[in-house]
């Protein structure tokens, strides 16, 4: 892949810095240039990269690095710290309503993984808290979307609430939550149809669902392979729905996942979970530090420092 290069590229710079025992502004410039390229190749949004590089530069020419005995390593440490800070702390808890049911709403672009993640979350809630959530099929648009959720429900032996495709999704969501109340279910997860963040009618539909069921969590489900557009998507969904968290899917692939950084930077909402496969138990708490390493290919870079 294209980004195998960062470790190689940084090696030259590190080698140089090591020899000198002192980091010059020119060294920092070269280093940040490589970091910029690496971030862009990892799909971090270019505006986010710009701000980031500026911040790193300021710190890298500052005292903490200049006074260090190992300035080269120190600079890399700065990069990693800034990256981890930008990504945010661990936040894998699901908000719980003090008046059950806790209502969770899944939103996002087409094909991001909402329906699959609905099943995964349900599975997780049962495993961790021994609670059976009610799944609500509020996607009336995608062919066989209800069937897909019902199949997942069957695989999990969990109830799925559906009213077919002729009923307004707002009513489906409302009725679904009502039924959960009657049955004393503790969680309801509402699967909504994929939609573009610029589709005003469909975005409005989500706002209406939100109004109707007052969800405790609104999870924006994002494909980790998303490129530069991730900021537009996240910003729009967040502006219109005030999402409570993000779930990053398909991290079992070989993407660097720079979108994670972009989304965190523009929404400042926590990334709570990571999807790591198609099966219903393939979901994990999100680890910002691991993600930072992944975006920069830091695993390689860190071992490089150890060798240096």
């Amino acid at each position: 892949m294209a980004f195998e290069g960062l470790a190689d590229r940084l090696q030259n710079t590190i080698q140089k810095i090591k020899g000198k025992g002192k980091v010059t502004e020119q060294d920092v410039k070269e280093m940040t240039r490589e970091v910029r390229l690496a971030l862009l190749e990892a799909d971090v949004n270019f505006k986010v990269v710009k701000d980031f590089v500026k911040k790193v530069k300021e710190r890298a020419v500052g005292q903490e690095v200049m006074d260090s005995l190992t300035p080269g390593q120190q600079v890399i440490k700065v990069v990693k710290e800034e990256l981890t800070a930008l990504m945010g702390g661990d936040q894998s808890k699901i908000a719980v309503s003090d008046r059950p049911p806790t209502v969770i709403m899944m939103v996002g672009l087409q094909g991001a993984g909402k329906t699959t993640t609905t099943g995964k979350l349900a599975n997780l809630l049962r495993k961790k808290h021994n609670r059976k959530p009610l799944l609500v099929a509020a996607d009336i648009y995608r062919p066989a979307a209800i069937n897909q959720l019902e199949t997942l429900g069957k695989q999990l032996s969990m109830p799925v609430f559906s009213m077919g495709t002729e009923v307004n999704p707002v009513d489906i969501a409302k009725k679904g939550v009502e039924q959960a109340k009657e049955n004393h279910d503790e969680y309801v997860i509402i699967d909504t149809a994929g939609r573009l963040h610029v589709d005003t009618d469909l975005m409005d539909e989500l706002a209406q669902i939100k109004d109707a069921v007052k969800p405790d969590e609104i999870f924006l489900v994002v494909d980790s392979m998303t490129g530069q557009d991730a900021v537009n998507v996240a910003e729009n969904f967040n502006d219109q729905l005030d999402i409570s968290g993000v779930i990053l899917t398909k991290l079992d692939g070989d993407t660097r996942g720079g979108a994670a950084l972009s989304i965190k930077a523009v929404t400042d909402k926590p990334i709570k979970f990571a999807g790591t496969g198609e099966k219903l138990d393939e979901i994990e708490a999100f680890h910002p530090e691991r993600m930072a390493s992944r975006i920069l290919g830091m695993g390689d870079v860190l071992s490089l420092i150890e060798k240096a």
Partner: protein, 305 residues
């Protein structure tokens, strides 16, 4: 042609916005192309070439710049080929088999539905094979499309061998004397070796049953995808010898610029673009319109746009 004219006049507009070809201009161009997911390396190369050209021809004024720019921009898509066919390799009096491949959720099944509709409109007899036996509701999804566009779907039950389904599809298509067989497959991430092997097996079954087939292997790429699309194109090509790309979800705000790099490095042309979820939302690829779309944002504040 009309598109060519409007393309160069649009380039004129772009160039007219910058009085001189200076660092600002190149910086804006760089940012706008990177934000379209074209990829850093491709963008840097392009900018370098443009700068060199400006120097070589001693261009100072933007108006002299427009031809160079419009040439280079379309060049980055076409590369050395003067012509690229975006048409489908149809067999005039025999069954044409098209295999669809790609990672999860990109739009394979939907594209098959749309293409089936288009082909049917043009008078072709189409059959679809439900080769995704894995994902929940995948067979039902294709059946729903079958109903929508009135095309027969060959299927087996969930969990069965995809190669067997495709085999059935070929036999059914042959016995119905169909013109085109569209084969759906399950989405898979390109780093899953077993799943990629499974896909190669599906392709081998097609090769064995119909010499010369599949006539097209279409890789569906989601326009929202960033640099990972390059890895997708490489690995899927290795496994199934991809003949063309369908760039889906171009109706959003993502630009899908990575197909430029894919075209340059792997010579795989884009054949269709997906522009929505309706049956009619599939169009043949127009390179000039696409390239223009990449930097249309530079013209965004233009009152005439």
């Amino acid at each position: 042609s009309k598109t060519r004219q409007s393309f160069s006049s649009r380039i004129n507009d772009l160039v007219a916005r910058y009085r001189t070809v200076d660092e600002d201009f190149f910086e804006d161009l760089e940012e706008v192309l990177i934000s379209a997911d074209v990829g850093v390396n491709t963008v840097m190369d392009l900018i370098d070439e443009l700068k060199m050209e400006v120097k070589r021809q001693n261009i100072k004024d933007t108006s002299e710049m427009k031809d160079v720019i419009s040439e280079k921009l379309v060049d980055i898509y076409y590369g050395d080929d003067a012509v690229t066919s975006s048409s489908i390799n149809f067999q005039s009096d025999d069954l044409t088999i098209i295999l669809f491949v790609g990672v999860n959720g990109v739009g394979k099944t939907t594209t098959i539905g749309k293409l089936a509709y288009q082909l049917k409109q043009s008078g072709k007899h189409v059959v679809m094979a439900a080769g995704d036996t894995f994902r929940a509701g995948a067979i039902e999804q294709l059946e729903e499309w079958g109903k929508r566009v009135d095309v027969e779907v060959v299927k087996q039950s969930a969990g069965s061998d995809p190669a067997a389904v495709i085999y059935d599809g070929i036999r059914a298509a042959k016995s119905r004397k169909a013109d085109v067989l569209l084969c759906d497959t399950a989405g898979r991430l390109q780093n899953k070796v077993n799943l990629m092997n499974e896909l190669s097996k599906v392709k081998r079954v097609i090769e064995r049953e119909v010499p010369g087939a599949p006539h097209e292997v279409l890789l569906v790429l989601d326009a929202t995808t960033g640099q990972n699309a390059m890895s997708q194109a490489k690995t899927f090509s290795e496994a199934t010898d991809v003949s063309g790309i369908v760039l889906s979800k171009l109706d959003g705000t993502a630009k899908g610029g990575i197909v430029l790099a894919i075209r340059n490095e792997l010579q795989i042309p884009v054949k269709f673009v997906g522009l929505g979820e309706k049956v009619t939302d599939l169009e043949t690829f127009d390179a000039q319109a696409f390239v223009y779309g990449l930097f249309a944002d530079m013209l965004q504040d233009d009152p005439e746009e």
